[in-house]
Every structure is written in structure tokens, then in C-alpha cells.
Symmetry: C2
Subunit: 159 residues, 2 copies
């Protein structure tokens, strides 16, 4: 099955992986959260080739995650901004950062520090339950798969 087939799955994790399950797309989105808006900056800061960045930006634009905006007309120059759909990927990047801060050996224990502007304190966001607001994790959560997704899974298991 081709990678693009993930986009036809019922599973929303699969559909999301098909779009942003790529280290360069993740790096572009990460850079945009850090304030990088121009192609040249994205290319230099991610270290990817211009072609790679160009292909990823086009895809992210087609998916409505990024929008292109002119910042100069003579000569015509564009910059890139995250849309609402793009900004909504923040929890994915933060979850990656938290994991990396904990598990990756780096010369610098916390290369990026977050401050919550509403309370003014340094923060390391974590997940809570939307029902009881207690911290939540894999061990205290049960996943129930819908009938439709179960049927899809049974069909590939019985192939």
C-alpha cells in the first residue's frame, strides 16, 4: 500500500500522519511557531534543500495549514503564515519538544524555554482529562475503536 493510502483510512491519526508525518514538514511548522516566515530563513534554519522546503510548503499550503502572503510587490516577495488549522498543530510540536527535552541527549538540556504569558511563569505544558481535569496518560486511558474502523481493521487482518 502506498503512503498516500493513509489518507483514505478511517483513522484520523493515519490521516494526520500522511500530512505531517515527515520530519521536514514538522521542522517548517516548528520554525513558523518560532516566528520564521520567509523561505530563505526556513531553508537555512531547517537545513533542508530549497527543493525539499518548496515541495513541503506547497503541500502545507494545499492542505490549508500554511498561507502565502505578499510582503513586497516590487519585487514580488512572499512570506508564509500558519492558518488556524496550522496553529492548531502546536500541541503536536510541544509534545515532541517535551519528549525530546526528556529523552534526547543534547548539549543544552532545554534549548527552548516556554513562558505562559497569562501567568508569567515558565511552563512545560502537559495533558489533562477534558472531563475531570486531572493529568492523563497512556496508562489511565482506554481507547475504543468505532464499528467502522473495527470493520476496516478486520478486513486487512483477514486478507
Amino acid at each position: 500500500m502506498a503512503k498516500s493510502d493513509l489518507s483514505r483510512r478511517t483513522c484520523t491519526v493515519a490521516r494526520t500522519a500522511e500530512i505531517i508525518g515527515d520530519s521536514w514538514s514538522q521542522m517548517i511548522i516548528h520554525e513558523m511557531f518560532l516566528g520564521t516566515r520567509r523561505f530563505d530563513g526556513m531553508q537555512r534554519l531547517t537545513g533542508a534543500s530549497p527543493h525539499l522546503i518548496s515541495v513541503r510548503l506547497k503541500r502545507l499550503e494545499a492542505e490549508g495549514i500554511v498561507r502565502k502572503e505578499a510582503y513586497s510587490t516590487r519585487p514580488l516577495r512572499h512570506e508564509y503564515r500558519l492558518t488556524e488549522k496550522g496553529r492548531d498543530l502546536w500541541p503536536v510540536i510541544i509534545a515532541m519538544k517535551n519528549w525530546g527535552d526528556r529523552w534526547m541527549e543534547t548539549p543544552d538540556a532545554t534549548p527552548i524555554t516556554l513562558t505562559h504569558t497569562e501567568c508569567g511563569h515558565e511552563t512545560r505544558p502537559y495533558l489533562v482529562c477534558s472531563a475531570c481535569e486531572a493529568p492523563i496518560g497512556a496508562v489511565t486511558t482506554r481507547a475504543t475503536i468505532s464499528d467502522e474502523m473495527q470493520a476496516e481493521r478486520r478486513s486487512v487482518l483477514n486478507d
Copy 2:
């Protein structure tokens, strides 16, 4: 710069992207959270080729995210489990799921429902500030880049 060079960055998001910034690795980890432990199930349920799954599992094992365990000795058969480091990726998968549930069009609005076993309610985990416990997002957060990471960024921008 080759993809593997992300692993040498100070930035922990880059280092994380280099390891799990790949849709098949994400799908394998997602399947493991759903309880899939055997190679055949992972291969069928993700839809990737056996070769792709095998390469990803070896990498995840080398990174200490997955461990291999014999469940039968005659014949020798293995299954795969997430380590603590692997289980700690749950927030990444949940963030992807939340985003997909909101933004991806699917035949089924919520293919996977989560229940918080501690309170017994259906849940859609969200991020809160570790200092004040209020909901937190991109707009209410400021990122401060360490001197070391700033120096690294300046050096590529001035190349």
C-alpha cells in the same frame, strides 16, 4: 544537509523529528498503543510493506522506544512492546489524533474514543500550563531560545 543531521542539532524538536518524523514510525507507535504487538498485525494494520516495518522497528528498538520479547520459544517468535521512553510518546499521538479529529474529513467523526479510566468519562485530553494549570496554546506562550541554540541559528543564517 542530510536528514540525519537533524540528530546533531541543539533543538530537541529537531532531534525528535529525526527519530519519529516519519509516518510509518508514527503508525507503528499508534498501533502499539492500540495493543498491536506482533509484526504481522503491525504490517497488515498499517498497510506498509514488511521491509518498511522491519526497518522502522529496528530503528525504534535501537532508540530504546520499542523492546522485543519472545512469546514462544519453539518456534522462536517475538512480539514488540513500548518501553517507558516509547509510552512517553503518547502525547504526540494524542495531539495528532485531536488535530485529525478536528481537521480531517473522515467517514467517521471520531474513529477512536478515549475514556479516562480514573474518572470513567469520555475524554479529549488538552494541554494546560504546568505553573497555573490553565489551558494553554500557541497564542498565550512565548518561546525563549537558549544562547547555545541562538548561536547555532545565527551561524546558519549568516552562512
